[in-house]
């Protein structure tokens, strides 16, 4: 791709943003009309709030990343906006949800914080390549973030998963941030080691086996992901990190055999864990027979949620019940987080879910496009990691909610309630925009080769 003379597309972004703000505002009006037969009083405030957040973000992109991809910001804003509307709608069903507390205002606040972080990245991260200096620091930070929840007591209502750090009334889900930090480490490490991994290997039965010292880190990461799985009961995160690592390794080395290793290791690991951890077995049983929980004598530890989610989706059918007119609250306590997609499926129907999947597909593909366009290997690896992390996360969550794969309990990026998730994903988008800005910037010189780097990417 020739970057010269590439139009900056900032006006396209602005036009799309108008649409991305207007659509949730209309959805908000829809919920109000459906549930109270009146326009919601907070509509103006919500519209202005989301609008100004989007506008500020846009203006800063104009100033600090003028050549950035024009689609990603509107896509993120749209998903975030729709999520807030749905959370508000579920708040309104408050009396019916056990343990329900109003979360829409919180989500709006976290979105603002997310945009603030987005702006921070825009302003202070002059060049994404700076991050590769922090490769090993990132590794340590990621490990600390991941390990931390294991030292906090699990709560009954968290359903077995220990993925939160709680300090007072404040809680964060470090896995979401670790996702980005770990990608920095992977990208930095692989950029340095990719030749060794790709070339210095012995051929054995048609496969390229790497040397032990090169293989070491992947084994460490693999074991780590299993440890997380075992100690924190967090299948989603471990699957995400492991998948992320395999993908990045494959991209860095261009060796298909890595995928095979990855698959073999994950199958082995998953089998071992399934046999030992009852939590995992419960999830798989619930996946195989989602209606078992409704039996007169439900199996121990079973949950109605997958069954409820499938019934919500089925009741929504092709066109859905309409925003505010479904009974998504039947899904109960995770309605706003893990299962928000079930609510969308019921109220917007198959048509709505297809649209949402397409929004994610577009966002992910823009991220991967950025990876292709990036001029430095670190940027490429970083972008491919971030984009595929999002793809894996969407797949794991949506697959669980729709009963495609066992439920693992993560949040739908941008859509679901959860401060950490929204903030982290805004940061993720900011980094991707920065990389795409440098990739599309006309006439920019390739970055000076740092140690271990072999010049511009092919």
């Amino acid at each position: 791709m020739s970057p010269q003379g590439a139009p900056n597309r900032r006006n396209t972004e602005l036009a799309l943003l108008v649409f991305a703000v207007l659509l949730p505002v209309l959805a908000y009006a829809n919920v109000g009309l459906a549930m109270d037969s009146a326009l919601p009083s907070g509509m103006l405030g919500y519209g202005l709030g989301m609008g100004s957040l989007a506008l500020v973000a846009h203006l800063l992109v104009r100033r600090y990343a003028p050549y950035a991809d024009p689609l990603m910001l509107p896509l993120a804003a749209l998903l975030n906006g729709l999520g807030v509307v749905m959370i508000w709608r579920l708040d309104k069903a408050g009396k019916l949800l056990s343990g329900n507390f109003p979360a829409a205002a919180n989500q709006l606040m976290w979105s603002a914080l997310g945009v603030a972080l987005f702006i921070g990245v825009m302003v202070f991260l002059k060049d994404h390549r700076v991050l590769q200096r922090y490769t090993y620091i990132s590794m340590v930070v990621a490990l600390v973030l991941l390990a931390a929840p294991a030292f906090f007591p699990a709560r009954a209502e968290d359903f077995g998963a220990k993925i939160w750090i709680r300090i007072g009334g404040f809680s964060i889900q470090p896995g979401e941030f670790a996702k980005i930090v770990l990608t920095v480490f992977f990208a930095g490490y692989l950029m340095v080691k990719r030749d060794a991994l790709a070339l210095a290997s012995r051929r054995f039965m048609g496969l390229y086996l790497p040397r032990g010292r090169d293989l070491g880190p992947i084994v460490v990461i693999w074991l780590l992901s299993l440890l997380i799985l075992i100690f924190e009961n967090d299948l989603g995160t471990s699957f995400l990190f492991f998948g992320l690592f395999v993908v990045m390794l494959y991209v860095a080395t261009e060796r298909t055999s890595w995928i095979l290793f990855g698959l073999l290791m994950s199958v082995g690991g998953a089998t071992a864990v399934t046999m030992t951890a009852s939590h995992v077995k419960t999830r798989i049983d619930a996946w195989l027979d989602p209606m078992a929980a409704f039996a007169p004598k439900p199996p121990k530890g079973s949950t109605e949620q997958i069954g409820q989610s499938l019934m919500a989706l089925g009741s929504g059918g092709v066109t859905g019940s309409g925003l505010g007119q479904g009974r998504s609250w039947l899904i109960n306590f995770a309605a706003k987080s893990d299962f928000i997609l079930g609510s969308f499926g019921e109220e917007l129907g198959l048509a709505g879910l297809m649209a949402i999947f397409l929004l994610y597909a577009l966002l992910i593909q823009r991220g991967l496009r950025t990876a292709i366009a990036a001029r430095d290997p670190f940027g490429k690896l970083f972008a491919v990691g971030l984009a595929s992390a999002m793809a894996l996360q969407v797949f794991v969550v949506a697959g669980g909610v729709t009963g495609l794969i066992p439920l693992t309990g993560m949040t739908m990026p941008f859509l679901a309630q959860g401060g950490s998730s929204v903030v982290a994903n805004w940061a993720l988008i900011a980094v991707l925009l920065k990389i795409s800005d440098s990739a599309r910037r006309p006439g920019a010189e390739p970055a000076p080769a740092t140690e271990g780097q072999r010049g511009p990417a092919r």
Binding site: V251, G314, Y360, K380, V394, F395, A457
Partner: protein, 483 residues
């Protein structure tokens, strides 16, 4: 590195595509089965998000749909004169489900029936509120009220039929309950209390209870005698000793009172006095198979769906002849629902043609368009018209001269038969008082009624059925024929 990135990007698309396929499968292909899954509470909530249609009797709705604007349920079912109408309508509860017509006609009442699809679609497009259709019953409100009032606080049931069509004109079961008290979502205590009540107020005695029919069953035995050519005339004398020794045993069957002149009595006289000896002997002489065949023509051993299903009435396949003799006077193992005994009277009154009993006259949409209308159907030709005429004469005689005098109505031709059914171990329990009858006006209108009163305290055949049950039947017949 671009080649693997392209592959990764295809992989990511495949992931999304898998999600899309799966969602299409769940929301497109499987949608209906998930939506109608019994564990899907949405159906229950949907049922009460818009006004439910009504059940109509005598041109007036006997049910209502109250807007309560609850969090889960917007509407709640209520009844006008609930205890009187409960046996007809059944209940419809937000929590405890439904039964009776409320259950069987739920599609129409809740508006989900496919036949309402066009109407519903139109309403959706025009923004009209969705509303369930109505179910119009055959019940004659006056007859129903007369029956309910006449039963008072007695335990038992009343069924009235139009012999010509089979339309059910009254359906009363007492003691009853008010379905309104259990229709909401917080009526658990009322529900528990009703279920724990030893009088079983929620049981539909008219359709779901079988009682020994006692002497009212002699109508079936007499019909069998004529139909099988055993006798030609109601004044034919029978060869009956008094007491009658049950065949194959040394047990003497006696009549209720020594005043009864049952030895070698005529058929008519034996019916007037309700002689056990005469009809037990006829039953034994005809034998089990002929008796069963006749009983089955009246509807015994058949499942009758009105559409509310009635319990099967039984003429037993008795092992011995003495059993058949006792079965033939409605004791031993013979069981009949009140509906069944009303059908016996109705067949006799309708010149032998027994019409299929039915409770629903028509179904209509909320906009009063008729969706379905009942067409009359013959259940069987229970006897020849000639036999029917003889049976009518005998029943009239019972009311004029015999045990059924309490049912006489000036200006109407009335035929009836009393019964007092012994039951319990060694007949220890209080007997059931029966009366089954029909009445005709001079212009050809008719009604058939069966009444059963549990624990009829007077232990004498004829008197008990005649004293306790006949006045109730009389009140119902008067109300049904407007006299």
């Amino acid at each position: 590195m671009n080649k693997p990135i392209r592959r990764v990007s295809i992989f990511c698309l495949v992931l999304i595509l898998a999600l899309m396929l799966r969602t299409n499968w769940v929301q497109g292909v499987q949608a209906d089965s998930w939506a109608s899954n019994p564990n899907n509470k949405r159906q229950l909530f949907d049922r009460y998000t818009h006004p439910r249609g009504n059940i109509i009797a005598g041109g007036q709705p006997v049910t209502k749909s109250d807007f309560v604007n609850g969090v889960r349920y917007k509407y709640k079912r209520s009844w006008i004169d609930g205890p009187m109408w409960a046996p007809v309508t059944g209940y419809s509860s937000q929590v405890f489900g439904s039964n009776g017509l409320e259950n069987l006609e739920d599609g129409i009442l809740s508006g989900t029936d496919d036949r309402l699809f066009f109407r519903n679609t139109l309403d959706m497009l025009t923004g009209e509120q969705k509303k369930g259709g109505d179910v119009v019953t055959t019940i004659n409100a006056k007859a129903q009220k007369a029956a309910f009032d006449a039963m008072g606080n007695k335990k038992g049931a009343v069924v009235a039929l139009d012999p010509k069509t089979g339309a059910i004109l009254a359906l009363v079961s007492t003691p009853s309950y008010d379905p309104s008290t259990i229709s909401g979502s917080e009526d658990g205590d009322a529900w528990k209390a009703l279920n724990a009540d030893p009088n079983k107020p929620m049981d539909n005695r008219a359709l779901k209870y079988t009682y020994p029919p006692g002497s009212t069953f002699k109508l079936v035995t007499a019909t069998a005698a004529f139909e099988n050519g055993m006798f030609q005339n109601i004044d034919d004398t029978t060869q009956t000793p008094d007491p009658y020794v049950l065949p194959g045993t040394k047990t003497e069957l006696k009549n209720e009172s020594p005043q009864e002149q049952c030895e070698n009595a005529t058929l008519k006289s034996a019916m007037d006095q309700s002689c056990n000896t005469v009809y037990a002997k006829i039953g034994a002489d005809l034998g089990k198979d002929k008796m069963r065949a006749q009983a089955e023509k009246f509807g015994f051993d058949s499942t009758i769906d009105t559409p509310v299903r009635a319990e099967k009435s039984i003429f037993p396949n008795s092992a011995s002849l003495d059993g058949t003799a006792q079965d033939s006077i409605g004791q031993h193992d013979t069981r009949a629902t009140p509906l069944q005994m009303a059908m016996v009277s109705a067949a006799i009154a309708n010149n032998g043609s027994l019409m299929q009993p039915y409770l629903i006259d028509s179904e209509r949409s909320a906009s009063l368009t008729t969706i379905s209308k009942h067409t009359e159907k013959q259940f069987s030709q229970a006897m020849s018209p000639a036999t029917a005429q003889k049976m009518q004469d005998m029943m009239v005689s019972v009311v004029e001269n015999g045990t059924g005098k309490n049912a006489r109505i000036p200006g109407l031709q009335v035929g009836g038969k009393t019964g007092t059914a012994q039951h319990g171990e060694n007949n220890a329990s209080l007997p059931f008082a029966w009366f089954t009858s029909w009445a005709k006006t001079s212009d050809g209108q008719s009604v058939a009624v069966a009444v059963v009163v549990e624990d009829g305290s007077d232990n004498r055949d004829g008197i008990s059925g005649g004293r306790l049950a006949a006045p109730i039947a009389k009140a119902v017949m008067q109300a049904a024929l407007g006299k």
